[in-house]
């Protein structure tokens, strides 16, 4: 029998060609041509694939490891008009020590607040590894001039933000002014410098998976470090199929440009079970390089409590009363 050509290591995973510069465009038409060249997304197929992955069953040590990883990926968020210094203080405490019963529980990735509360959050978090993320650029609607958006970003940076969550101009995107969307991302990234930039697509307003894929590419071409699903402020937020499409985008982008971009899912993710489903989709779509807080995040508030509760259940074999966990 002839020797088998087994699947080689090279064939197995996502291959990254190594650091290279991002493509640039002289005209909007060139950008448009690139976007048109992206393969379409078949909505029925994408939803079926996500539904199939959602049937994966994580048990025992896998479940425990995944719960810990999910905790480390949380951007603990408060984005209310009613936010106060006190509210941010307690959120930061929760971020540093999510489970009062168990100091072994890792801290979350970041707290996510409005720009005016960044300095306070930074002070409370002190030397802890928890980062401060700020939503900027006239969050959540993005309806302001570029100058105002950039000022918003600068103020957040001055307050000590480690990460900026910007929104794209959905109006410009839906009107087909892709160049404007790209230029804004580039401009914000310039102000950010080395500070991590997450670009919010607001998938609930883009509606179609084809739009999500194109907006993902625009954000990544503009220099995004993360692409993020939603603000959490419109009816439709993150969903498993949307995350799937965005993970395919970062995987393909990494393979064709060498730039590894992360994904943040936000809005409506409340249960540990949902979080684990997202991790399965990450695992089987983009792979191991994205199974880290550096490359995948959950923007959430109540999710954290369910994660620590399920973690206790997994360790003790019984559920602990919800009142044993802090309500923040």
């Amino acid at each position: 029998m002839a020797p088998l050509r087994l699947v080689t290591r090279d064939d197995r995973g996502v291959q990254l060609p190594g650091e290279s510069s991002l493509p640039t465009f002289d005209t909007e038409e060139q950008l448009r041509a690139l976007l048109r060249g992206l393969a379409g997304v078949d909505a029925v197929g994408a939803e079926a694939r996500a539904a199939k992955l959602a049937t994966r069953s994580l048990k025992k040590s896998t479940k425990l490891a995944a719960l810990d990883l999910a905790v480390r990926m949380v951007d603990l968020t408060t984005l209310e008009g009613a936010d106060t210094l006190g509210r941010v203080t307690s959120l930061c405490a929760k971020a540093m020590r999510p489970d009062a019963l168990d100091p072994e529980v890792p801290s979350v990735a970041a707290v996510c607040v409005y720009p005016d509360l960044v300095a306070h959050a930074r002070r409370v978090l002190g030397e802890s590894p928890v980062k401060v993320a700020a939503v900027a650029t006239a969050f959540p609607s993005g309806r302001a001039s570029l100058a105002v958006k950039l000022l918003d970003v600068s103020e957040a940076l001055e307050g000590g933000a480690d990460e900026i969550d910007m929104v794209i101009d959905r109006g410009a995107f839906l009107a087909g002014r892709f160049g404007q969307v790209l230029d804004e991302v580039v401009a914000v990234k310039e102000v950010c410098g080395a500070t991590h930039l997450k670009v919010i697509l607001e998938v609930g307003e883009l509606r179609t998976f084809d739009n999500v894929r194109r907006a993902s590419w625009i954000a990544m071409l503009g220099g995004a470090d993360f692409i993020k699903t939603s603000t959490g402020k419109v009816g439709v937020s993150a969903s498993l199929p949307t995350a799937l499409v965005m993970l395919e985008a970062v995987r393909d982008f990494a393979e064709s440009t060498g730039h590894v971009v992360g994904v943040k899912v936000a809005g409506g993710i409340r249960s540990a079970k949902d979080a684990l489903r997202y991790l399965v989709v990450v695992n089987e779509t983009a792979g191991s390089s994205w199974l880290t807080p550096e490359r995948f995040r959950f923007g959430a508030s109540s999710l954290l409590n369910d994660l620590v509760m399920q973690r206790q259940k997994q360790r003790r074999g019984v559920y602990v009363r919800p009142d044993e966990f802090s309500g923040d």
Partner: protein, 487 residues
Amino acid sequence: MGDLSDSRLGAMAYDPAPESRAVVAFQDAYGLFIDGAFTNPSSHESFVTTNPATEEVLAHVALASIADVDTAVLAARRAYETTWSKVSGAQRSKYLFRIARLIQERSREFAVAETLDNGKPIRESRDIDVPLAAAHFFYYAGWADKLEFAGFGANPHPLGVAGQIIPWNFPLLMAAWKLAPALAAGNTCVLKPAETTPLTALLLAEVLQQAELPPGVVNIITGDGTTGSALVDHPGVDKIAFTGSTDVGRLIQQRVALSRKHLTLELGGKGANIVFDDAPIDEMIEGIIDGIFFNQGHVCCAGSRLLVQESVADDVLRRLVRRVDQLRVGDPMDKNTDVGAINSAAQLEKITELTAYGEREGATRYTSTCVLPDRGYWFAPTIFADVAQSHRIAREEIFGPVLSVLTFRTPEEAVAKANNTTYGLACGVWSEKGSRTLWVAQRLRAGVIWANTYNRFDPASPFGGVRESGFGREGGRHGLEAYLDVT
């Protein structure tokens, strides 16, 4: 970026998540289900059915002799004449609804039994086989009292006694495909399950008892080829419905040729998935994978040939090979398993033989690096690239987890290659351009064409082949025609 340079897909290992075996209790030995009761075969002969994933014996099953087949057919005839042809359509409908609900109630038990006896992953038996089987009974329950509106005349009559022979790849689902329309149309049945997978049909017999279906309306006789042959030859049978290999189908057609028996055949296939350069690539990859590795490729309509436009062939192949290595092969009872065990040693031998030919004929072989269990019958998912039309692996039905990849340059060439087979069961077309999809679909010689999807089944949709893939339709309104006297 060192640690990021090789992002292993599916690197996070999943701990075993086995479904409980305890939900199903097989008897040590099963008799023949004739006239509403389990009876011993006249010869007292039996055979064993095993779990192909472990080679463990699951149960002893009666071997029906020619005399037993005769008893079963006579019971079906008696039931047809005394009860089933006399009850109203609404009554038949009631029984079918009951059967459907009982399958749903016992779905977990059916799923586990199917996986143990067949080797298919529990995810598939749980999410596809069993729900679809129930759906078929529900669907045809709705037709039973509306036959005069089905388009087959004002007062369509049943044929009488139907002899039904089903394969081992979807044991329960094929039983449902056969029984539901036959009963809805007013026929009585003698069903012969496949030799290697009789257990879910026998569980279904228990369900029929629970549903209080009148004795003799459905008889289930287990056995081997001689049993099936006796059923085909029995003069008391009015209709033969067979699903299985083309070779056996051809024999059956010869045998019934000079009789008054009606015949429908659902036979083999060599389905082509045609991929154009504008296909939705991620969903297409999943569709190709599902098209050939679903149920270990033991699917008559499997997309076992991939015809890919040459301009995107390298990218498609690279993504396919990466995806194949990600398939989780192993214990079918594990809820995370994607590909289970090959159904029998004989089938494994056939797959092994044909794939060896593929290499000898010069195709490039990519085989998953998955670790196969020590016991049981296993075959690692395999893709052959650089396949030519003349290769055996491009022409013969392998009926296993093996994909043959060919290329084309123009839509005309794609159609010509897709049609260059003696079979004609199913094809898939992948393109974002609707006009092209329709242009291609109109020219393909196949009973089923899927667009931007594959292996989708629904009781309302007719299924069946042309040419050496057989004739007659199962499912939908068309499926009734096979069990009604429409001449």
